[in-house]
Amino acid sequence: MSCCRPPQPDDKLSGAEAWFIWLGGPLFALVLWGGVYRALPPLSQWLVDRLPVTPGSHLAEALAFFFYDTPKVLMLLALVVFLMGVVRSFFSAENTRRLLAGRREGVGNVAAATLGIVTPFCSCSAVPLFIGFVSAGVPLGVTFSFLIAAPMVNEVALGLLFGLVGWPVALSYLGFGLAIAIVAGFVIGRCHLEGWLQPWVLEVRLGECALPDRRLAIEDRVRAGWQAVTDIVGKVWLWVIAGIAVGALIHGYAPTETLAAIMGKGAWWSVPLAVLIGVPMYSNAAGIIPVVEALLGKGAALGTVLAFMMAVTALSLPEMIILRKVLTGRLIAVFIAVVAAGILAVGYLFNLLFAA
């Protein structure tokens, strides 16, 4: 099949000159990026010092946090989104489907969850993707592994965690997000719930995939990365700033003891509560992470916070409503229950492993 071959470099466009320009350009931009990034702390300090506020006051602390974190986070987010955009230009839902079709469970779940991170995916595509996967012979549980990982381990969550809380937490989020997607998909697959799909789904006859070859040159991949930056950062930057503003208020004003009592390790019920609150908050994921970072600084437990974030990204109400078209209510309930159980387990595990 011509359509499903992975994109190959276009000989015509990828001459030495094109490589020089399209590799050299981004590298130069990266060096520039690094320079600005390193200059941020003194710059923000200088700016806050000029403001008419008492040094060391609550207000000064909140302002310093805001003026340092906003550019820092937006820069890191742009970098992660760009890199992810380039990586994703090597993948497509159709290719991923071809890779997963007929895969056995187990290996298939691992492959599906991993591909879920790098395959371009938007939640409005969830239904065509689901039908396309299932009717092409991708096992149901493997399809679920993909559908759990794709929205949960996304570039916005990773970029913001990396920028605000540091790379160990971002990597933990990545690893445990993958683990949840793999295990939850495997469990759902073991339950053999094919009968709980909407009846029409099994009758769908998949047409032959006849997409033309996508031959991408390095130029197209750099452009894809840049387009991802303008698309995604353009969509979320306002939420990020709003989130950082709220985070700055928490930093400067919220009493540490009260917050630690509610969201700290001591309160066992905080993990399920975080999941419950997280589910309906899908669209504001970008604004929530800066707030979460401020809460961490005030003594909230890392596991509780991670569970909250995973609930925000993995279990979104709008996506459930969309998936209702292909899944029966019972299957959606199983899906939510299995994923929520995984998130709870990760939350408690983290609180157990990482002593404050």
Binding site: E94, V127, A136, R205, G207
Partner: protein
């Protein structure tokens, strides 16, 4: 006259895709007939797994994400 179908649930990107095709067709002076296919079973019939998809004269030329204007022009003129 080119027969064009935009496959998708009617999300924002699908609408933008349809709009882009109309604009490009007008710019190039190409006569088109544009239909939106929103039925999921019908979309699956075209074999794609991501939307929006674009079908020109019965052939799938695009799947997933907003297409680039240059590509749209190529579909319309070839």
């Amino acid at each position: 006259m080119k027969d064009i179908k935009v496959l998708g649930s009617g999300c924002k990107t699908c609408q933008l895709t349809a709009k882009l095709i109309r604009t490009e067709a007008e710019r190039l002076g190409v006569d088109i007939r544009l239909d939106k296919v929103t039925d999921y079973a019908a979309i699956a019939g075209y074999g794609i797994a991501s939307t929006p998809g674009v079908v020109v004269d019965g052939k799938v030329v695009h799947a997933g994400g907003l297409p680039q204007a240059a590509n749209v022009a190529t579909w319309l003129t070839s």
